[in-house]
Symmetry: D2
Subunit: 397 residues, 4 copies
């Protein structure tokens, strides 16, 4: 109890409890302290089974327990990719009612139509520092220096990591005296932000020493991490994924209760024209919903949902059938590291058989298929409403 | 066991289990089925204390348990708003190591500097259907009809809700034969997407009957929900929040190990110039991190993290002190409904004393303060690196 | 000759010549001076018939003559608007070969199809200063003050102009201590930038006196003048124009050598998907070409071509015919003031019968029709190539 | 006169006159026809000295004469570039009063401060067709084919041109079955759009034959030509130019009547924050004004003013002086071809000594310097108002 007294009297700080007692004990004391000062009763957050000792070294500070987020599954989803080939159940953690049901319906349509054809169209993680020189002329010289010394820079960068490979430094944008070189890496099965930050920092030491340029910040926002950015649309970031399916016309009518033409019109009026008029970077209905639910289930970084919201949905009528495709340029993903090691996340990755080394590309293709399912289902529902209204208006006419 | 057999043989579907057994039993069977077909061992997701019966009616379909996400606290954070006035502990659910510690450090600086001054600058939830007419001329007529019949439309819309109020329908964008009216509501303490969808749907029935126009889709992406969009930057969506603090120069140096000038330069080079060059809508360092961790803790819709990533950070040197401000135009928030009723979310809202009716504005101000803390802390750290490198370069010189 | 000597010796400056001799004489001397120092022979720029005395007071400083830009006409173009109803010849000044021919072909198709149906969907000119207060809280107070004192502000603003009317001040965006109120006016037949600048400046005097807030700059870039900006897409600026035509299928095939389906596919793949992937604000093929050529012909501000490049083209197949529509949210236009008084510009306005007071709305509708013609023609040509390639591939197959 | 009768009776079309009479005669007849049908008196447009015979083959169809646009000069402007080194007078064609004077003032400040340091940071012209394949998987294969066959593609492309060189095809964006390869060329002294279109068309014949893919349109809007687009900000297009100057503090005060600090604050509040809030791609005050006036003077394509409006202005206080920089990523320029051969355009290029082959880089650096001058002058004026108001408010206080 004296630790509690010390906390209440401000003698020790919240993050110092672990210096005196084991983690789980510290978690309890900290939670009770929060209960005392806030008057809240923290019963449910105290029920956790994850190894908090490990989590407190990797994932969280000042822990008081864990939140629980309901976990559902959608599937089976037939995926036909280069890495994923088979039927999968997709774990989705969300509190938004009807989301899992909607994705599930999409899985059913896709699987019935022979599966989602999925491809990884890009694979990179980026870090773009901002560096200051004395003038635009010097900035150009620095850009040239980087281009000429790419091998030495790569050696430095890659000396910090077993899995990270520096693909290129491109583009290198110059504005006044500032230089923004975008370091582009592959990072294996980890999401890679930490890896590329450390690698880039090492490379910058060389650059600083050799050129005398001054690094203002390790990230100059040209990365662009956790903010929507056109550069990520154009260049890609994380896994870039394209998934598609052709749904037979009769299945569109029987299961989705609409027609290919209606889906195409909704896609054009909403996802293309509407997003254009809104000044949006998301030319889709709700990629973020599916990305979000998979991310929470599998321990991805929740702030990366931002990037996963970008992309373009394509819908076309083709000989009476519906061609439907989702295109996600920017989905940071991992099957090792970060939150993926948390127990419930590991289990969710296991459901898809993609946990650990070697799983991330298969995982990416499943994610593509799941987004396709969720997008198709919602677009189908909107188009069904469209069609139903059209019929009822006709009836009234 | 026969239910399992039926599942394995495809005689019943995953979502049909609840028709035969109570929810918790269904969850168990479904989970075991997933274990069987995937080979995964789902031990930790089976440990949940949330009321799955209720959750299965509101938040999740095909449940197999719950994921656990580590929960930490940052604080105390002094907030001086119109609704929130006092010291708060902020619950943060995340698996990104160092995030809570960073926000915590920011809280300490802000509180030491007298607190975060926070204001809600906008409060609205929007739904913008896309409606088809016969021509651009007719589209204009429809726009006029909407403007002239706003009272009747409001009556219809508000007939569906006790808490929602239709503020305006503006802008109403016309493109060819398509009309995109943006319905703007206040929604009390709930996030309001469902509320405004139902209200708008009702209003559209009147519109359809009176004008013969055809609703293509209830959402025409001008809302804009869960996608980054300039219209939300310009018009605001959810809670628009501005938070600011002036940190004494000596505190910047002592605690953040940097100077106001260095913070200002990092802000300009990274958050303003860098984001401009990247074609980004997020002129900040990492709003999404803090928004994300609060959203997961308190049961907000994770896909709305996308919208919370938008906004502009302002940093200025003022008589030797650091003026620092975050400006979030688009933060959908709730203290009732959606995921906020999940037990752990309720407890987290209780920590801040904002659960339930009447809490959302206080909550919004705390969120503003917390984002300010996280942003200040990271920008301070980047600026400290900037300064440290400058000193070491000087030493080498 | 002594003026020349003085110039060469730097005793007088280029802009001081008019103090000593009449304008045309000054133009000659200045031109000869430029010939002397540059070695250029300036024969053609010396041939001008515009009244340089008047121009030198309104349009140009340091004049040395005039450039000549070839002027062609396209038409007749049948326009069916609310203000323009009839057949028009459209003057186009350009040096881009094939542009006039292309617009001309579009005019022919449109006129043959019964004419372009055009509507003005918005009419406003804007000025948005940036104002500094002491804090975000004060900024909010200022926003409220503006909303509450709109009548007094309007009185001040309108006291400076006979033709300008202040419609609203909206949106008023707040970021930290900065306030960006967007003053929205109608400006009659003049483009209005000067008018609204003067009116806003006067209104700001009242604001400054009453509130003590400080105006940082008369334009805070939220106007947004001569830069592409989403706010103009959303809110409109200048004349917002929608023009449409339904081209019979047989005419599409006979004249454009393509099919409605092919035009629709090019529009979707290029103007919608392509622009989305490019992070563009122009979801069209080449509005800027037609806008540019009309602007040069009629004395509009050439920098406003930037704003005229925004907008969305809609193409749909409708019962075998081609529905085609252009939507320009942001076309600043004038029939009085600025460069419209230059002799050749006046003559070009006369060709359309829209010179002077009362002509601007008719002019705007003709502009809409002309852009429709140019866009339809290019899209038709692209679609014809598409189709031709498809046929030849088939032949090879 | 019978030609006139034929025109009036619709027996021949406007563009057919040249079949019967020489060009200048045709111009006269066409003009008189327009006078007859419109009632306009076209006196001034009939006064032209340019060689209409040549223009009618290269620049214009259906000519009726020429418009005259007042031409002024600003300078001398000291430019210190890699290609331009010396003092220049800059020809500016505009009807916007005060623009030349403002640029002239900027030239004076810059020259007084030792000149504008200018660098070309990029040089490319692009064409990005949209190609259709059967699926996303095939689209990826096509992307790979392009990457692997870059040498053969280059050979085809370059076989059509002496001056054009294919630098790279990058990025190649895939969305569903569509592929958007961005062909990037250098084009010597011509602006190059025609050159790269022809070259790309030739290259696509090879691609079509070898892969069976189908070219939907020669431009898929990823170029991006004459529309504002983030891809051009990120990748550059035309000439990318950076220009900078450091103005001594006392000169800022004496000539610009303001302080470095005031300019920096206006730049931050307006060009950075304001443009961010507006969702703009132009983080500057008025690049388009200066670009526009130079473009009209020198026969550049007026629709490219759109692209010249993009870019970021940087302002910093440095030891009491003002560092000021403009950064234009996207300025298509030519000294040969297109409108540059028109007589008045040639003379304007001669004023700067950049006409013809070998001049375009010197020209680009002068353009950079001129934009720097115009931007500095307007920003200085805004900052002077800012300061004056601050003083007067202080006086009142």
């Amino acid at each position: 109890m004296s630790l509690m007294d010390d906390l209440l009297e401000g003698k020790i700080k919240l993050y110092e409890i672990e210096r005196h007692v084991p983690v789980d004990e510290a978690v309890r004391i900290r939670r009770e302290f929060i209960e005392r000062v806030s008057g809240a009763r923290l019963e449910h957050v105290s029920h956790y089974t994850i190894d908090m000792d490990r989590a407190s070294r990797r994932n969280i500070e000042n822990p008081i327990g864990a939140v629980q987020i309901p976990l559902g599954v959608a599937g089976p989803l037939r995926v036909r990719g280069e890495y994923a080939d088979g039927e999968y159940y997709v774990p989705l953690a969300t509190s938004e009612g009807a989301l899992v049901a909607s994705v599930n319906r999409g899985c059913s349509v896709i699987t019935g139509a022979g599966g989602a054809s999925v491809r990884i169209t890009g694979d990179s993680m980026t870090r773009a520092p901002v560096i200051r020189t004395g003038s635009a002329a010097e900035a150009l010289n620095l850009r040239e220096w980087i281009q000429e010394n790419i091998d030495a820079i790569r050696e430095e960068a890659e000396s910090t990591t077993r899995h990270g490979k520096l693909i290129k430094i491109d583009p290198i944008i110059v504005a006044g005296p500032y230089v923004y070189p975008r370091f582009v890496y592959t990072t294996g099965d980890s999401m890679g932000m930490n890896m590329v930050t450390i690698a880039t920092e090492k490379a910058l030491e060389l650059l600083t020493e050799e050129t005398g340029a001054h690094v203002i910040a390790l990230s100059g926002n040209l990365c662009t991490d956790k903010k929507p950015a056109s550069i990520n649309l154009v260049e890609g970031r994380g896994k870039s994924i394209s998934a598609e399916v052709t749904v037979p016309g009769e299945m569109v009518e029987r299961v989705l209760k609409t027609t290919p033409e209606a889906v195409v019109e909704v896609n054009t009026a909403k996802n293309l024209l509407g997003s254009a008029l809104a000044g949006s970077m998301g030319f889709n209905a709700h990629y973020a919903n599916i990305i979000g639910a998979i991310f929470l289930a599998t321990g991805q970084d929740e702030a990366h949902i931002v990037e996963g919201s970008l992309g373009v949905t394509v819908a076309e009528e083709k000989n009476g059938d519906l061609y439907f495709s989702v295109n996600l340029p920017d989905v940071p993903l991992a099957t090792v590291g970060g939150g993926t090691g948390l127990e419930t996340a590991s289990e969710c990755l296991d459901i898809m058989g993609v946990r650990g080394s070697g799983g991330v590309h298969e995982f990416a293709e499943i994610v593509g298929g799941a987004v396709l399912a969720g997008e198709l289902s919602l677009m189908g529902a909107l188009a069904a409403g469209h069609l139903a209204r059209a019929h009822s208006e006709l009836g009234r006419g």
